[in-house]
């Protein structure tokens, strides 16, 4: 049994939070079989208060103030950045669209610990929130199809888990802070997305106008209707394409979910409606009420989230780090590896490798290199279920020759395979004559084309490597 500390930092549209988690891993393989290390327990040991995300202007995040918040939370929790073996900083919602978003992320992840990774992108957010809220675990425990709607200040992140598998992800520009109101109930800011919804309802909203509850409620009711249609209750609302968050996936309408979970700041206002109409200086309370009264809450079984406003930060702290399979192959002293892009082969391309053919895969990698300026990349593939010795040898030789030809001198050969064959593949590549590159081959990790992977230092006597699979998409 080994425990590691993990930090989660979420810089959201309206709020910023920090959590510290303890992850325990153990070898459940037993005496008579090959080791099988897994994360056996996740415990959140410290939750920060919920801060307002500090902004210099509408388009610029206050990096120094943010660092101060994070440093203060480390001190209060009694940890230092060097205590952290893993973790993630995620920038979400409208914050990801600020002009200095990537710079903020980079400086914060560097400051939070050597092995703390950065992530951004609406799909990633949807997944992390759904894990942090408990929807993911519920879908596994009940073998159920579960939807998680993380409704924050700027966006609503939706994910569908079907018995633990992610079957759909999407994101809409629907949130509680899209319209801001000052203390005298005058409208301060109307986001473009909110203006679109209002226009569709035939309502004109201008800053300085007095907030009109009837109009604002019509806007939030319409937002709720868009979400109903999104989850398959009634036809899709015509506004849906216009509200799709840039960089998010096309959401495939799922079959009827067995349960729906709400997380994010607005979730608290759905589960516990507030009496004061414009309590937080925005439309959060109204949106919560509209959703509460919608078919989302009457037609579906309502799940009970373990976390609401903290779902994303808990997800970032506890659920982003996974571990590789326990029989893997790697060169020493190469970790951590950060932000390595993935080129994923499909079954057909992979089959050509196992026949010892190089041209198709080489062309695929060359094409990727032409589109992206990268020196390192991970070659990922599904792997074969029970490969033979001969075809493994062919694939090992083909992979090495392709990578040796296309990678700059000194760059390592990095492989991520879904099936449990990485140790054999890594060992065979190492045995090739003239092999002079470092090799990392890990398995039992699912990745997709276009994702990024971070690998930390080996754990559990070197049996496993902590891995974060993520996206890096800024709006």
């Amino acid at each position: 049994m080994q425990t590691i500390m993990s930090v989660g930092i979420d810089v959201g549209t309206s709020t910023t939070q920090v959590v510290f988690s303890r992850l325990s891993m153990d070898d459940s393989g037993g005496f008579f079989s090959v080791p099988r290390v897994s994360i056996v327990d996740k415990e959140v040991v410290y939750k920060s208060e919920v801060y307002l995300t500090p902004l210099v202007s509408d388009v610029w995040i206050d990096t120094d103030a943010l660092k101060e918040i994070v440093a203060g939370e480390y001190a209060r929790a009694g940890f230092s950045p060097s205590d952290m073996s893993s973790g993630a900083v995620i920038i979400t919602g409208e914050s990801a669209r600020k002009e200095n978003a990537d710079a903020v992320l980079e400086s914060l992840s560097g400051f939070a610990g050597d092995f703390v990774v950065s992530a951004a992108g609406p799909d990633m957010e949807s997944l992390i929130a759904g894990k942090g809220s408990g929807a993911f675990q519920y879908s596994i425990d009940h073998h159920a199809r579960v939807a998680n709607l993380d409704i924050g200040g700027g966006t609503t992140n939706v994910v569908i888990f079907d018995d633990g598998a992610v079957t759909a992800r999407g994101c809409l520009d629907i949130g509680g802070r899209l319209i801001r109101v000052d203390e005298g109930s005058g409208l301060v800011r109307i986001s473009p997305a909110a203006a679109k919804v209002a226009a569709a309802e035939g309502i004109q909203l201008r800053p300085g106008q007095k907030a009109d509850l009837v109009s604002l409620t019509r806007v939030t009711d319409r937002m709720a209707r868009v979400l109903e249609g999104y989850l398959g209750l009634g036809p899709e609302d015509v506004l849906t394409p216009a509200l799709k968050t840039p960089g998010s996936s096309d959401f495939e309408r799922p079959g009827h979910p067995d349960a729906v979970f709400f997380s994010g700041g607005v979730a608290d206002l759905i589960y516990h409606p507030a009496a004061e109409d414009l309590k937080y200086g925005d439309i959060g309370v109204l949106l919560g009420r509209s959703i509460r009264g919608s078919r989302l809450c009457s037609d579906f079984h309502m799940g009970e989230p373990g976390e609401t406003i903290r779902a994303t930060v808990v997800g970032a702290g506890s659920y982003t780090t996974t571990i590789s399979g326990s029989t893997i192959s790697y060169s020493e002293d190469i970790f951590p590896l950060k932000n390595i892009p993935v080129v994923k082969l499909d079954e057909a391309l992979q089959a050509s490798l196992f026949r010892g053919e190089k041209d198709e895969v080489a062309a695929r990698i060359r094409w990727y290199q032409a589109q992206n300026d990268v020196s390192l990349l991970i070659l990922a593939m599904p792997g074969k279920r029970d490969p033979g010795y001969g075809e493994m040898k062919l694939a090992a030789a083909a992979i090495y020759e392709i990578m040796d030809q296309l990678l700059p001198a000194g760059a390592p050969v990095l492989l991520v395979i879904e099936c449990d064959i990485a140790k054999a593949m890594g060992q065979m590549i190492r045995q090739l004559p003239g092999m002079d590159r470092q090799v990392v081959a890990i398995d039992s990790i699912q990745v997709s084309d276009g994702e990024y992977v971070d690998m930390g230092r080996p754990l559990m006597n070197g049996m496993v490597i902590p891995v974060v699979v993520k996206t890096l998409i800024f709006g």
Partner: protein, 297 residues
């Protein structure tokens, strides 16, 4: 004399007759009298393999409360759940699948390892003191011992004093050896050679049990001995192979001195991966000069 070709011919005739009859009835099987078939019954075509994963994945429960949940549960286990019942008994399909699986298990025990596999791996063969399969099954003690002739052959053909001596034995499942040994053995030999370990001359023992490796280690003076054997088949898989590895093995030593890698098959640890894993494991055994429980401490 009934031979295989004749059986195939009969089956082909029967299938042709069935197809002709179906065609005559407008693609529908004719009423055969008796009770009418329940609507939505799922008869399996005579031409499909009822022991296959695909057929076994289909629930046989009539009108399940939650079909999706039942399918999910069935994906989690190879146990025969979701099979329904006919009155107080198993359904015919379940009963037939059970008997077919049992036949596969019996075959695994009773058949010999494919001589082509042994030839392709260029292994020579010896036999334990057992004279036939029946004696092998009833006298475990004889399956652990080699006669003088076998011992002499081993001493003559094998490199003496290797770091690692690899042995293949049929054990209780020849099917397991057929399915896995060609994938695992070359990976392991390549792996050990590339790390500068002296690997002895591998060979095959017919009617062999695990502890026969101890006598081999004594004959050859091997530091480490490793025997691959087919595991006693269950009704789930007949393809599971294990490897038993011992440092400085001696006849009569305690079983606790063996390190085991079990469950080598396509649904357990993949054969090629087992070869790679065992490379590192054997290196560690050589380095620590210990195996089994002593290696864990």
């Amino acid at each position: 004399m009934i031979n295989e070709a004749l059986i195939e011919e009969i089956v082909r005739q029967v299938i042709a007759e069935i197809q002709a009859r179906e065609a005559a009835a407008g693609g529908k099987a004719p009423e055969s009298g008796g009770y009418p078939a329940a609507s939505g019954s799922r008869d399996v075509d005579i031409r499909t393999d009822i022991t296959s994963r695909e057929v076994k994945a289909v629930p046989l429960v009539d009108q399940p409360e939650d079909p999706e949940a039942l399918s999910r549960m069935m994906r989690l286990t190879t146990a025969r759940i979701g099979v329904g019942k006919a009155g107080s008994r198993l359904k015919t399909q379940t009963m037939l699948a059970l008997r077919a699986d049992h036949a596969v298990a019996r075959d695994a025990v009773m058949l010999d390892v494919d001589p082509e596999v042994i030839r392709r791996l260029q292994l020579f063969s010896v036999q334990t003191l057992c004279e036939d399969k029946n004696q092998f099954l009833t006298r475990p003690d004889l399956g652990r011992r080699l006669g003088e002739e076998a011992a002499a052959k081993i001493a003559e053909k094998c490199e003496m004093r290797p770091d690692v001596q690899l042995i293949v034995a049929d054990g209780l499942s020849s099917t397991a050896i057929n399915a896995n040994i060609e994938k695992v053995l070359p990976v392991l030999i390549d792996g050990l050679n590339s790390r500068g370990v002296k690997v002895g001359t591998p060979f095959f023992i017919r009617f062999g049990r695990v502890a026969v490796e101890d006598q081999v280690a004594e004959i050859l003076g091997a530091k480490v001995v490793c025997i691959f054997v087919g595991e006693r088949p269950g009704l789930g898989s007949a393809e599971s192979m294990s490897a038993y590895i011992a440092y400085n093995a001696r006849v009569g030593m305690p079983e606790a001195r063996r390190t085991v890698v079990s469950n080598i098959h396509k649904d357990g640890i993949t054969a090629v991966e087992a070869g790679a894993y065992m490379t590192d494991l054997i290196l560690r055994i050589l380095e620590k000069k210990a195996s089994g429980v002593e290696l864990q401490n």
